[in-house]
Every structure is written in structure tokens, then in C-alpha cells.
Symmetry: C2
Subunit: 126 residues, 2 copies
Amino acid sequence: PMPTVKEIMSRMVHAITEDESIKTAARKLLRGDTNHLVVLDHAGRLVGIVTTYDISKSVVQEGRGGLVKDIMTRQVIRTTMDEHLDIAAQKLERYNISALPVVDRDSRVVGMLTAIDLGKLLERRW
Amino acid sequence: PMPTVKEIMSRMVHAITEDESIKTAARKLLRGDTNHLVVLDHAGRLVGIVTTYDISKSVVQEGRGGLVKDIMTRQVIRTTMDEHLDIAAQKLERYNISALPVVDRDSRVVGMLTAIDLGKLLERRW
Ligand SMILES: C[S@@+](CC[C@H](N)C(=O)[O-])C[C@H]1O[C@@H](n2cnc3c(N)ncnc32)[C@H](O)[C@@H]1O
Ligand SMILES: C[S@@+](CC[C@H](N)C(=O)[O-])C[C@H]1O[C@@H](n2cnc3c(N)ncnc32)[C@H](O)[C@@H]1O
């Protein structure tokens, strides 16, 4: 049977709020050895995503002094623990993105599915 | 049988030389809608890799005026067209990276295997 997201997702999530600086976001990405931060509001709900791609874009646009809200993506493509992995993988390919926040019914982030995690599938099937 | 890299790799490769600026690298990443640039010498051989992660790191270190050679990774983890995908996927996971340049016998880059490409495998097997 097709595996689900919960079988390979990571529970490690790096988060930030939209009022923090771009530099703080860059520091968190570096410290987390990751390309993705979820942006949460003060009640812990998912309001955006900011990645190293967005930081790199701000370097082109010289937007030094900016805040996360100035560069983050608000329409977040997301997944759930029970979603089948072929569906989740299609989202990554269709939007050319490399991570999907995993959310529960209350839009709380419970994990992260990254494209790198898809490699775990190869250990089982062939 | 276990698929090989050439079955799912992408032929699209975005390249830069080490003497170009960090800002030019950021511009090429943006234009290519990608997180990875291979760094080639003037004879077209692979000498490094620079990603949006490295650009983000340079924002933390305030290294504005720098060049690609100041931030690139020189020890490039790579793959070949005939490598089995389980081996290539293990490299991505072991080094926590999301792309492997695909090189031929003369160390020329012929493509790129990204973690996002691993999703293509799901379309076939289950
Ligand atoms: C379209 S991708 C292109 C670069 C590269 N292929 C990658 O995987 O990041 C970069 C953009 O996608 C956005 N992004 C990343 N993950 C996302 C997600 N789960 N939902 C919505 N946007 C996302 C980022 O905010 C960034 O602006
Ligand atoms: C260790 S990863 C961590 C961030 C994130 N997980 C990612 O996939 O980029 C970031 C670092 O890996 C390096 N890197 C990316 N692809 C590489 C490759 N194929 N070989 C060697 N280093 C690579 C980049 O230059 C960057 O310094």
C-alpha cells in the first residue's frame, strides 16, 4: 500500500514570526542547517513560509533592512499526516518546492515533509 | 530493478564561475527558480557548488561584497548517470543536501539530480 506522510516526515520544525528581521531568519536557517522556516502567528497558527530562496531573492533586491513579512510566501502548500506520499510528492513537483509543512485539523504545524525525506522510500521497496 | 540516476535526473544545469559576485549568484538562482548553482572553471570542469543556503549564510556574516569563491562548497558530493538511485538518495540524506551534480568520466556536469526528482519514482511503483 502507498505509504503516508507520517511514515517519513520529520518532527523537527524551525519557526519564526513575521515581525522578525530577514537577518534573524538567515541566522535561524543557518543554525538549523535547513532551507525552510515556517512563519507562525502569536497563537501558533501557520501564516507563511520563508526559505533560503527568499533570503537570496532579498539580496538581489537589496532589501537589507526588511522583515520576514516582506519576503515570505503567504499561500503555503501544505500536507497532513494521513496524506498519501504520491499526492504529497506531486505537490512538491508541481510547485517546484522542496518542503511541505505538515498540519493538523487546527492548522497547527506538527512536522515537515522535505523532498530529502522521499529518499527513505527507496530503502524499502526495491 | 532499482532505477538509475539518468532515469529521473534533470538536464537543466545552472552554472557560475568562482570569480563572479554573490549578488550575481543570487540573481542566477532567482532567474533559474532554483536553489543550486554548479561552479565551473574556465575549462568547464566542476570546482564547487553554491546554493541559496550559502547566500543566506553570507547575509548573516555581512559578507556583502564577496565573491562566489568566498562562500561556495569545494568538496562537491556528486553522482553519475549509471548510479543506482538508492545510493544517490543515501548521499542526499547522509550529507543533508538536496541536489547532486551528475558528472561524466571527465568531471563534466551533464545534469542535476534534485531531491524533488525523487518524487517521480512514486508515480511508478505502488
Ligand atoms: C518556487 S521555489 C523555487 C526554488 C527551489 N526549487 C526550492 O525548492 O525552494 C521558491 C519559493 O517557494 C516558496 N515555497 C517553499 N516552500 C513552499 C510551500 N510549502 N508552500 C508555498 N511556497 C513555498 C518559497 O517561499 C520561495 O519563495
Ligand atoms: C548541508 S546543506 C543544509 C541545508 C539544506 N538541507 C539543503 O539541502 O541545502 C547546505 C550546504 O550544503 C552544500 N551543498 C549543497 N549541495 C551540495 C553537494 N552536492 N555537495 C557538497 N555540498 C553541497 C551547500 O554549499 C551548503 O553550504
